[in-house]
């Protein structure tokens, strides 16, 4: 019996399927790259925890200058943005699923869809920031505004980095450097993307909905 996996013909090219039960040759038996990503995500909890706590501390303080952020929220708009980001997690996991079964075309489609949904979210955030600034709620207007922009801005920066990672994956896929055997690359990028989504789940509830 041959030890090499047979190639699987995808929609438009020949791709290598992932070995079904390949164990990682590490001391833990797990992928070091994936382990590193989880450690990174664990540390990111502390970063976003600090930013959310800072905002909460200043949210209830009387505003000495400019409007309060609660007066400016557009909940229907932010709800749609949240829904878009939530659905991007679905398209991300579908991209991983397609990559794992060697379907390069669908993998690219879902990766691009995820990037597009992420871009829509960032565009919504830019629109929200622009509206707030026009209403006199600038970055240095008061402590509440500074903490709000730092928190949501850091999250937006994370989403933007995620979009760049997704586009890099699409380029890799087009060049044939993302076969099923390397689906873990998509999985690790997906972990980052889903984390950005779960952070927004917390921000949406704690910052926008709970007053």
């Amino acid at each position: 019996m041959s030890t090499t996996a047979a190639p699987h013909v995808g929609h438009d090219e020949v791709v290598e399927p992932a070995p079904p039960h390949a164990a990682h040759h590490t001391s833990t038996g797990l992928s070091n790259e994936k382990l590193a990503m989880w450690v990174f995500l664990g540390s990111e909890c502390l970063l976003f925890g600090a930013l959310i706590s800072t905002f909460l501390l200043y949210r209830n303080r009387p505003v000495l200058n400019g409007p309060s952020v609660a007066e400016l929220y557009d909940i229907p708009f932010t709800s749609v943005s949240s829904f878009v980001l939530l659905m991007s997690s679905l398209t991300m996991v579908l991209a991983l699923s397609a990559t794992q079964r060697g379907d390069a075309t669908r993998s690219r489609i879902w990766l691009l869809t995820t990037a597009l949904l992420g871009s829509s979210f960032v565009a919504g955030q830019v629109y929200e920031f622009t509206t707030f600034v026009r209403e006199g709620f600038g970055f240095t207007t008061n402590l509440q505004s500074s903490s709000f922009y730092v928190l949501t801005g850091f999250h937006g920066a994370h989403v933007t980095i995620g979009i760049l990672i997704l586009l890099s994956l699409v380029v890799m896929s087009v060049r044939g450097a993302l076969p099923a055997a390397r689906a873990e690359t998509v999985e690790i990028a997906g972990l980052y993307w889903h984390f950005v989504d779960v952070v927004w789940i917390v921000i949406f509830t704690v910052v926008y909905l709970i007053r």
């Binding site: 797990l30 995500l41 659905m87 579908l94 794992q100 909905l209």
Partner: protein, 132 residues
């Protein structure tokens, strides 16, 4: 056809039902992922609806929003991030980060009297009362 080839062909045909990853853990099917996304969408809709029912829900509103947030968080982490199917080490690492962050920042918020009646720290309240 060798056994290896037969296994590869079988795995490709079975891919829509269940995907087996490189670590040998079974992941949900695409249909399951769509179902989970629908559940998440419904919970999000419930969150937004409850926001507009603030007067009707009263004191239940904040606990209800927090519960829905935790359910959404756990669902994404468990299913989309595959924590339910992967090694427990990943879960422990992630949960350690969350518990550490929650502990540190809840203590910080408590020390700044965030959980007091009006959420305004004591020293700041004294200054505000003086200025009034």
């Amino acid at each position: 056809m060798s056994l290896q080839e037969a296994a590869a062909a079988g795995a490709a045909a079975h891919a829509h039902e269940e995907t087996v990853t490189g670590t040998g853990h079974a992941h949900p099917s695409d249909r399951s992922y769509v179902g989970i996304a629908l559940i998440l969408a419904v919970i999000t809709a419930a969150e937004v609806a409850s926001f507009y029912l603030e007067d009707e829900l009263g004191s239940i509103l904040i606990p209800a929003l927090i519960v829905m947030m935790i359910v959404k968080f756990a669902t994404v982490a468990g299913w989309f991030m595959h924590l339910r199917f992967d090694s427990n080490i990943f879960t422990r690492l992630f949960v350690s980060g969350i518990v550490l962050a929650a502990g540190v920042y809840l203590a910080t918020l408590a020390s700044f009297e965030f959980f007091s009646k009006d959420g305004v720290p004591g020293p700041a309240r004294a200054v505000e009362e003086q200025s009034e």
